[in-house]
Assembly symmetry: C2
């Protein structure tokens, strides 16, 4: 095993900033670029861990905010940590809770040490700041811990974005300073570049974080409603000032096309609720874009969701059957679509890695741009699953 | 393979009417006594077919009424039948639709040829009688087809029960007469003993059905709100007039204790929504009775639902985790509890067969009566899952 935190770059794409790498965590290696299924409340919605392994998931994401509220991080710590609690022995990344504090909770009041807010569940008064977030993530025992930050809204003024980013930078420093005390050994700490859509602020944020010498760097504050071209500009303005040799993570992104385009801009890790959220909406990812399984054309269709797909749903069930399940609101319909959609995403990541390794990433990117129709075209994702 | 419809009795219990047998269907053998998980709308709620196989299910039940409404039996026929549609290659029994017509639908009008009613989903005017039920079940292609009948309400007068039972008997005759035309070869046809709680009517019903020479006999009209002692008396009054050499099926029953007691009275087949319904309610079956996983005592409990249980939920997850999932309404919680509860029922059936074969059924029955506390004590089961 490599030293925990080692990030090896195995291959770089000559035509873009894409690269293939391996990140060593305390719970195993993650091949990058990779996608993390979202397990907000210690469960990837409707998909049991044995299915996740079969799907090919290597790393999952848990949400600090949700787990802090229920069941509480001390309980999870007492039960041996999040891996044992949710029966996932592979790597786990936890977000910092900041994003949900700002997007979900009511009556926020920001102070220098953190944020007063009320639980979106029962209105309980709570406080979360860098110390609390590190304590909670230490309790959870995730492999990758995110610094506590504010995700500024879109649109916002330069002044708001600057103030918010600089406060987040101070919070990041605080997280780094207390990690020795509050995190367990082997937990990696990633910074989060903020700064809205202002390139100068993104640069200041990235440089400030890099000065802290963190294990990896995420790009936050995007996919919050901005046009897709702005998302890519925000990515570029951030990545430009991040070190080659550390992993980069685009938070909460995105559609398959956005992922390919982000990989081309040097991103190594992704998470997104789209695969499971669209499943609950009766939609499936295919090579040609998102299709609605509820469509009347599927009524009597014996074909699988996608011909040639190797997932359990496609190997064993027809579109007609899955459409029926969705129409009558049977849980198995959501289970099967979630399995397929996650499989689609993880196969996409494996195809991306293969293309980069084989020197065909540029062709892959162009082909995907032609065949995959992004009907959703949405950079905006609602905050809760 | 034995001839389809063959029912071999391998062992009979000397101390009761319990027996171990094998029923040959077109899709394989069913070891009896056995329990059929309920797949109302072509899915055993939240449990995928590969899990059902792992759980040890041999035969599942589908609902004619629900499948007739959505997606329609012609569609299922055109897609190769219910087995292929739901990807279950083992035996399937379908009920006749009668029970749901009388319990779910509105504005019923009974005629000699069947029942006019309105769909409980959209109010559509529909008609179901013996011909329609046989046609639909022929389309579904189930291995065991049930005759169309009326399940009389509880309580009801002798006169109502007599009229209803005699009409059901005429309907049963009609089902037998049209089976050659409307069912596929290899589909077995079971009669349903009715007659309320009146022993004389039960006898008349059973004798009338036996005269028709059907492949098996169900006991209907029980578990509809009567006291548990009346349920057993109704079973006894029916079984007494059924042939030893044909399989007997107690419809919609029951709790684990009821199943053991019914086996002792000569019953071979069971179906019940309790395992999956209680799962959705956060409850689990254990050797000591039903327990609520939501209970505060499970908050930090690392133990599985039941120590020693071999199901996926118990092998891999703690009570604390499953309690958390149920508390936050995560689908995986219902999936895991459904898996456990069905496993509990199927293991119970296997223990029952083993006990009968080993000559220890009486001991097993007494032990179970002592250790298993039936907190539910309910003969009444609501009609819909």
């Amino acid at each position: 095993m490599m030293e925990i935190g080692t990030f090896q770059i195995l291959e770089s794409d000559p035509s873009s900033a894409a690269r293939v790498g391996r990140l060593q965590t305390a719970h195993g290696v993650v091949d990058t670029p990779n996608f993390m299924p979202v397990g907000t409340r210690a469960s990837v919605k409707s998909v049991a861990p044995d299915r996740l392994i079969e799907i090919g998931a290597q790393m999952v994401l848990g949400n600090t905010y949700h787990l802090h509220l229920r069941p509480g991080s001390e309980l999870i710590r007492d039960l041996g940590g999040l891996h044992r609690f949710m029966n996932w022995s592979g790597p786990i990344l936890t977000d910092s809770g900041g994003y949900q504090v700002f997007s979900l909770s009511k009556l926020r009041k920001i102070e220098e040490n953190g944020v007063h807010f009320r639980s979106h569940i029962d209105g309980q008064a709570l406080f979360l700041g860098p110390d609390e977030s590190m304590q909670i993530q230490g309790n959870l025992g995730s492999d990758v811990v995110m610094v506590f930050d504010e995700c500024a809204p879109y649109p916002c003024t330069w002044e708001y974005a600057a103030d918010s980013m600089r406060r987040s930078l101070r919070w990041a420093r605080r997280c780094r300073d207390v990690r020795g005390k509050l995190l367990r050994s082997g937990q990696l700490l990633f910074g989060i570049v903020q700064g809205g859509l202002y390139a100068d602020l993104r640069e200041e944020s990235a440089r400030g974080l890099v000065d802290l010498g963190l294990d990896g760097y995420a790009i936050g504050g995007l996919s919050v409603g901005e046009p897709i071209s702005e998302l890519y500009r925000g990515l570029e303005a951030s990545v430009a000032h991040l070190p080659e040799e550390r992993p980069r993570y685009s938070m909460g992104s995105g559609t398959p096309l956005q992922i390919v385009e982000s990989v081309a801009r040097g991103i190594d890790l992704f998470d997104c609720v789209l695969p499971t959220r669209l499943a609950r909406n009766g939609s499936a990812f295919t090579g040609r874009g998102v299709v609605s399984i509820k469509a009347a054309t599927n009524r009597a269709l014996e074909d699988p969701i996608e011909c040639g797909c190797g997932c359990y749903a496609c190997r064993e069930f027809s579109r007609a059957y899955i459409r029926h399940l969705i129409n009558v609101n049977e849980i198995l319909g959501f289970v099967l679509l979630s399995i397929h959609n996650l499989y689609y995403y993880l196969r996409l990541m494996s195809q991306i890695r293969f293309a980069i390794e084989g020197g065909t990433f540029e062709t892959f990117r162009q082909e995907m741009g032609k065949t995959y129709v992004d009907r959703t075209e949405r950079a905006r994702l609602e905050p809760v699953e």
